[in-house]
Symmetry: C2
Subunit: 401 residues, 2 copies
């Protein structure tokens, strides 16, 4: 290479940014990817460079199903996409349209909300507690009429190690929410990109695997290698009803462009086949565990008044600072000076209000922030919390409540 590659995020020198949701540079296995690329290009199969099979190479889907499918190993229920974000957009294009409604938890992953709005969908949100969205409000939102004549076409959840909350749905709650979607014929997108990153045991089952048995088949589960292997490869998948996946494969985009990422999917295929990807996932989980522990310990030590549900996986802690409005975006009204104090102490967090669809549904989000332990090592996480605590104290003193 003759130049440094520009990545999506950059943090100014001296600042610690816990808003970043991208993986730690330490997680990215450049050597393994180099070896895999060399191996797949070594045997002269030029089909590697040709338009790919629309749903993804069958052998790769089979291996994905065997690796991530749990009890559901049918490759016809797997479809390869360039990451979970592209999967989400593809589903919005094919299974919804401008003016339709989408039901989400409040708070929700903010860039999923942005994607829904890009597609002209009307977002309706449901209040959540530490166990996930309220089932009664969820069922009611699915059936409420959509102004303008659209219909509720989709629902969206991050069921495992949620973004931003870190929380995993209890299986009973998950079953209720899924059944309500099935009852009303609404496809449920389960964004499960953090699911493999269980830190205290096995990953929870995929909502798609749980949904495969009954005839309902409404869950489209999204997965990705971005959080433990490499975002730049753009390899993810949809796991769900074969009928829906056939519709996606028959879309103009797929029929015209072929498979969405044949070359990088072949690299990930090779990394899974050789066991390098699984080894990587194991190492990333161990490293995330020590980062998570360091963050939790620092929060308990430095911010004893703060509350959070301890994360059992994924990247995030969803922290509340009672009486201090750390959740308000800078410039978005009175924040008691927290944003300014954070900047002065050179620490960045993702303000809670960023993840809110409707402030009435998430009344405590103004006192919350999403802290990522995915990007920074333990000692930097501890230092970030020291700075965060100083900023919180400074603004609490400046505007006593």
């Amino acid at each position: 290479m003759t130049h440094a590659i520009a990545s999506q995020h950059a943090t100014p020198e001296g600042v610690i940014d816990l808003a970043r949701g991208d993986p730690s540079p330490d997680f990215l296995p450049l050597d393994a990817v180099r070896d895999a690329a060399a191996r797949i290009t070594a045997d002269g199969d030029v089909n590697l460079l040709q338009y790919g099979h629309e749903p993804g190479d069958p052998a790769f889907r089979e291996l994905l199903a065997a690796t991530f499918g749990g009890s559901d190993g049918d490759p016809e229920r797997w479809f390869v996409t360039p990451g979970a974000s592209a999967a989400l957009s593809l589903i919005c294009t094919l299974f919804a349209g401008r003016g339709d409604g989408v039901v989400v938890a409040d708070p929700s992953y903010h860039l999923a909300l942005r994607t829904f709005r890009d597609h002209g969908l009307q977002v309706r949100s449901v209040p959540s507690d530490d166990g996930g969205p309220d089932p009664e409000a969820w069922a009611a939102a699915l059936t409420e009429p959509v102004p303008g004549g659209g219909r509720v076409a989709l629902a969206y959840l991050v069921p495992a190690f949620g973004n931003p909350t870190g929380v995993t749905l209890a299986s009973e709650r998950a079953r209720h929410l899924t059944e309500a979607c099935a009852l009303h014929g609404v496809r449920l997108i389960a964004d499960e990109v953090y699911r493999p990153l269980a830190l205290d045991g096995d990953p929870p089952p995929s909502l798609a695997a749980a949904d495969a048995e009954p005839a309902s088949e409404v869950v489209l589960a999204l997965g990705s290698v971005s959080k433990f292997l490499s975002p730049a490869l753009r390899v993810g998948w949809i796991h769900g009803p074969a009928r829906d996946l056939r519709r996606l494969a028959d879309a103009g985009l797929l029929r015209s462009g072929g498979g969405m990422n044949p070359f990088t999917a072949a690299i990930v295929h090779e990394l899974l086949r050789s066991g390098a990807a699984q080894e990587r996932l194991h190492a990333v989980r161990a490293e995330l565990r020590s980062r998570r522990d360091a963050l939790h310990a620092a929060l308990r030590r430095e911010l004893p008044d703060a509350t959070f549900v301890p994360a059992e996986g994924g990247y995030f802690a969803w922290v509340r600072t009672p009486g201090v409005r750390i959740g308000v975006e800078e410039g978005a009204g009175a924040d008691g000076g927290v944003a300014e104090a954070l900047r002065r102490h050179r620490v960045v967090v993702a303000p809670g209000m960023r993840f809110v669809a409707d402030a009435r549904r998430a009344p405590d989000a103004a006192e919350r922030a999403r802290l990522s332990f995915g990007h920074e090592p333990p000692e930097r996480l501890a230092e970030a919390v020291v700075r965060l605590a100083a900023a919180v104290r400074a603004s609490a003193e400046a505007s006593p409540t």
Copy 2:
């Protein structure tokens, strides 16, 4: 690799398929891609595996602009996409919505039409002659009301070496069509994936480059390396107004997933930097030239009654067989037995009606077929035309008109 890779298209043994729009296996430079992948992964920059810059790496965009931009080398007017098909879909998502209208030439690239329908757009088509769509009908279609309250949001053209017609818009006609779009505030998508494949001289200028000078700025030109380097890398671009490209970069899909294909874009970057891609393009043009010549000669020899505008670039000849309905899809009504005769003679062509949006606008399409010279070598093209001629004769004799 432990298995053969499944590509999008497969042709049964013994059949010659001129419907295929994928490049010849001979065009695909596996060695060059292997070397480029080795070089980009050699220097330990882990940013190569991280979320990429949303519009694509700035240095890569600069090189794209310098290589394919002609007079318009401003990198802010370039945006990297996973091929032209994904670019088309992204534009439909961000700049149109269900119920809006899209104006196209008739005939048009059938999978673009399918993509528009996937997005819920209403396709309205304009009759075309050998010089492209009729300018008056084009202007009228741009302003006709859209039933249901939508607006004409987009127009779509393949201005250079068109798909399916092989024809290139005269610059005067192109200017008229572009100006009409500018006048009515309709974005014009110029699908220019075949533009670099000029066979008898320099490529025609991009509609986006022609559009860069005046204030109008309505052209979004699509490019790709799929037709001369590799479809599987999924690397293409949008060349157009910086303001529109900033909107795309700010979409949920991009903000969430980062750049759309950072790893394979880095491979293409390296292939352009080293000159391997340009060398490849030069070789592919030479090879396409001899294939095109072989196809034209065979058509003149074997099907003297057939008419076509000689292709000056790209992959396609749009051939008419007067009195013989080669353009009707099998099973789509009386075809005088042509489909059956083609099958018996083991040759496949793309029936003209496949590319028609509204049969009233393209009355001769039932007697036309799109023949690709991109996939097969000269001797196979000649043999295919012998078979085609036999099938045409057989069906003309079976049902004399």
